[in-house]
Symmetry: C2
Subunit: 399 residues, 2 copies
């Protein structure tokens, strides 16, 4: 039995991971679970899967969890410390990090530091500290298994292959709900429009990232680190049907692709059962039913977040971390209806241009940049409230 | 330097293989070449690649080759014995069998029997004697590398994977030049219409096989043996753009595909450089240029050859061999304009139904069946000349 911890067990990735675990009886033992604030679901999961320990980040929800688990013998931790404590324990074979946003970085580092392999759905970890994390994993002989459907696809295409013979990685993206909208209409995007992803069932933060296409930008950065590629070796192709999850082109012109129905349970399961494909009951792909797969280049004029991600990767150092932190803040501000959809890339562009650049950031540098970004984006929000923000050209603050 | 022999060096596969060899200087030493009757080209190739030996099958062309190579020190063999002599020599690391039709079977067996790995473009070898050949390869610890683009695709998708975790193989086919024709119009098909393949540049025999879709049927049989699958694990999907060369579906629903521009040099090169992808100057795939990939089920009513191939595989024993022999004869008869396009499946159906079935055919059995099939198909041709052949229902002779 493979022993697992699941960070973010009440979220989209976490609940689907538990579905996978249930579908493969006798394969996994769930040792620990963590959640942000859904006390009731976390307690239910803890009892159902007979875990040893849980952590709930929101202190105000901790009492409910303690109450619900009283007498079960299940250890209950709380707060950010509780999360990191669970993440850092080496009583598991694999830690599935299904956390959302930059908050997922420290637990990834804690797990790898304890020599535990990480199934990583939290792409922000690699975006913020890709150099540090890949180095740490190497040092601790721990492995990082991608969970993102795109990176799982690339990982699968690379099985048995020599990475030196890769010419480029081709990340596919659906183009999100605004692929066919004229650029001008983006000014009117509402929260509910942005939350309607055409193909994938995902949490709200990543769904907004898909709508701005920042998600694809973050994936470019993640791919650069996960697969040790040069930035210019990672390309994006728009593929609205989300059937081909990504591709690898080799030096001889041969291209391998991994496909499937758009169901996160398939890449989650692969990360849990790697290197094996286990029999499953998930929907199967029938290309004669799909009929048609289409491809087009991304519209970089409309989705400026993509360019910002390549720019951050080119600048290197602290740039991707700040871009990601600013994006976390901007997306939640949009979800809270504090800024407009088209303000998101403006906020990111300004933060990227204005931040105190560090060439080789330590974890302390990243923490300080988190404080800087929080303050800086907060200031920008004030401008946004007066509704002038997105009228300024991106990066103008750096002039 | 990898030492190569190329059987059928003046044909489509052979000439493209020599292009690959030229494009990778210092990688290969061509030890021997064989051709059917193109004396002039064979002699040119022998000199250019400084080979040790050549064989020309057509005895009447042997004199010209001897003449042209006089004084070069290059050994000149002739006839079927010469071909088998070259094929059976173990002075090479890899034998590329680019022969066309059932005549390619004996050289495949000769090479494997000598412990030499075979890059197999001659699918008829596996169709006629799949059980015998896979057993022989195992015994002699020799390997069979597929060259057909479909089987190369499957082979590439299986790199590093456990074959027990394969749910099914999905062979793609363009559907050939008559994909969109109504069934009734097939009665009017001319030789030049059938020789126009929409995507691939191949020799005439395989081009006709593509038009009847017998090619896909033969590939199903080949795949069954090459990858040790049950017949029902090999499916066909029509994909008119010929960009996805074939796919593998694993037990978890994950599907891997191999793609590329339709250029035989890519799978030829992979078979020669396996397990490496070498840098090459062949055209590269740009999916945003292709734009659109479509898929549909094969029309089994129109292309009855597909059903005959599955039927032969189901019956097993000598059935696939006889199907293939009858097909060789029928295709050349069509190319000689002795029978009509729609007569081809009728000839095959009759031969399949009427032949003296052998459950576990030896090579001697196959030779005797070759004689039987030649005589039987000859008889059928006489009926055909009276133009009644294709009016009889398929398999009626067995009733």
């Amino acid at each position: 039995m493979k022993r697992l911890s699941i960070l973010g067990s009440t979220g989209s990735i976490g609940t689907q991971a538990l579905e996978v675990v249930t579908s493969l009886p006798g394969e996994f033992q769930i040792v620990s679970l963590t959640a942000r604030k859904n006390a009731s679901l976390l307690a239910d999961q803890a009892v159902e899967f007979r875990v040893s320990a849980v952590a709930i980040i929101d202190d105000s929800a901790a009492a409910e969890v303690q109450d619900r688990l009283h007498g079960t013998g299940i250890e209950v931790l709380s707060g950010r410390d509780g999360l990191l404590e669970i993440a850092g324990r080496d009583d598991v074979d694999l830690c599935l990090n299904g956390l959302v946003g930059g908050v997922g970085m420290a637990p990834t580092i804690a797990a790898l530091d304890g020599g535990v392999d990480v199934a990583l759905a939290n792409k922000e970890s690699m975006v913020m500290a890709g150099a540090y994390i890949t180095e740490l994993a190497k040092k601790k002989k721990a492995r990082i298994y991608p969970v993102d459907s795109e990176h799982s696809a690339i990982w699968q295409c690379l099985v048995g292959e020599d990475r030196a013979q890769v010419r480029r990685l081709i990340l596919t993206g659906s183009g999100g709900p605004f692929r066919e909208w004229p650029k001008e209409r983006l000014a009117q995007v509402t929260k509910s429009q942005a939350l309607k992803h055409p193909n994938w069932d995902m949490g709200p933060k990543i769904t907004i990232d898909s709508a701005t296409m920042m998600n694809k930008g973050l994936e470019v950065i993640e791919a650069r680190w996960l697969f040790d590629m040069e930035p210019q070796q990672v390309d994006i192709v728009i593929h609205p049907q989300s059937i081909i999850h990504s591709m690898v082109e080799f030096t001889d012109g041969s291209v391998k692709a991994q496909m499937g129905v758009p169901d996160m349970k398939i890449p989650i399961q692969y990360a849990l059962t790697y290197p094996d494909h286990r029999s499953s009951e998930w929907d199967r792909l029938d290309l004669t039913q799909v009929g048609n797969l289409t491809f087009e280049p991304p519209d970089l004029e409309k989705f400026t977040c993509i360019g910002l991600a390549y720019e951050a990767l080119k600048r290197g150092g602290s740039s991707p971390a700040v871009l990601n932190m600013a994006n976390d803040l901007a997306v939640y501000a949009f979800l809270d209806e504090r800024i407009k959809f088209i303000d998101i890339p403006v906020v990111l562009g300004k933060a990227l241009a204005d931040h105190p650049f560090v060439a080789h950031p330590t974890l302390e540098d990243i923490e300080q940049l988190q404080v800087w970004t929080g303050r800086y984006v907060g200031e920008i929000m004030k401008i946004s409230r007066k509704d002038h923000l997105s009228e300024e050209p991106i990066g103008s603050a750096s002039a």
